[in-house]
Symmetry: C2
Subunit: 229 residues, 2 copies
């Protein structure tokens, strides 16, 4: 049985845009593990009934089925200990990395790009997406991002902890990337896949870090369909 | 030669208030290593001439002299591998923890308590401290903290990543503390040692985490001179 990764997309099955799917996609590449991408859309919860879970990513790895990007990372380190490590035997500090990323990077990006997502979705998913996100934000999505240019400096400033680290070393993982890089990069790949809004300036150490991540694995992330840099 | 830790204090040598000194102090306790605290004040740079460094903490560990809390943590893990680990063989993700802490927790606390520090200092250090900090903030220290009650909700909100993790587990390190806990706790111990301004509410998961940290090693941190909770 081929290894399969269920990943979120819209009308274009090659345009994977869930930040969590990008974490798993980069984790598999880091481990050097081939996989077949199984496109999945927001409304196809019935296709995940076999998992007992309603969200992607879902990894089918032989007889093992793993839902949730965090559990997928733990599984990959446990099942393939001889391949490059994701969390190097100690997942604990990566939880704070993920919590920081979700509260800061990802929440910040959402408010900068969310209105660019609906045009990429089929009709049924678009209705689901717009309804659920407008409920979350309490306003039309166009209104969420209306002042995004004005909020961009604050978003860039909020990246300061990341900037401090990647000024002094190539990756959050040190000389080589680890799962901390994949967590944060996933959010940037989400933005890149759905929006041409420029989040980073080329002179920024975070920009240069993102370039290094885009170059990994023969430019795997760089080559996927995208709008932004 | 007894193990010695040079630590920042004011007129009371038992009131250690540098957040970085607290990181090292907790790290030594975590390792179960005895040490003699050597009180040091801001103006006593000549007493650190033997280190080639002008800040504390400085650890003198037998023939080895280590400056900087980060390097002290690395040294302790390398020199005492059979004792409880601080960074579990992989320092990389702790760098982002430290960068997040410094940019968010510590910078936030500074703006809430900095004006409470001068009364704890002798005259010479007080002049140094007030002058250098007023230059950094660009205003009198009393003005920095004047609206602290109004800014407290934003500070508590900024602790969200920490809160997310310690809601689900006892420590950032998991079931037991590790150096991530010590990094963040150091900032809270700084506040507790110099100010009675209440940073946290008892109902907050971050408050309960701080209580667990205060209880470690027979209440070592709890028993030091302090104002706040």
């Amino acid at each position: 049985m081929a290894r399969q990764l269920y990943e979120l997309c819209g009308t274009d099955p090659a345009r994977i845009f869930s930040p969590y799917c990008w974490r798993s996609r980069m984790a598999l590449a880091h481990k050097g593990l081939d996989f077949e991408s199984v496109p999945w859309r927001f409304t196809e919860t019935d296709r995940l009934a076999f998992v007992g879970h309603d969200k992607v990513p879902v990894l089918v790895d032989g007889a093992k089925v793993v839902a949730d990007s965090w559990d997928i990372a733990l599984h990959l380190d446990a099942a393939y200990p001889d391949r490059p490590s994701l969390m190097r035997g100690n997942p604990a500090p990566y939880r704070l990395v993920a919590a920081w990323n979700d509260a800061t990077v990802q929440a910040g990006i959402a408010r900068l790009v969310v209105s660019d997502i609906p045009p990429l979705l089929g009709e049924a998913e678009r209705t689901y997406f717009v309804t659920s996100r407008e409920k979350r934000f309490g306003m039309p999505l166009g209104q969420v991002t209306a002042d995004r240019a004005a909020r961009l400096p604050a978003f860039r400033e909020a990246l300061h902890p990341l900037r401090m680290v990647v000024r002094g070393q190539a990756f959050l993982g040190g000389d080589t990337p680890d799962y901390a890089d994949m967590i944060v990069f996933g959010s940037f790949m989400w933005a890149r896949s759905v929006s041409d809004f420029a989040l980073l300036e080329p002179g920024d150490a975070v920009y240069r870090w993102r370039e290094r991540m885009l170059d990994l694995h023969g430019g795997m992330a760089r080559q996927t369909p995208h709008f932004g840099a």
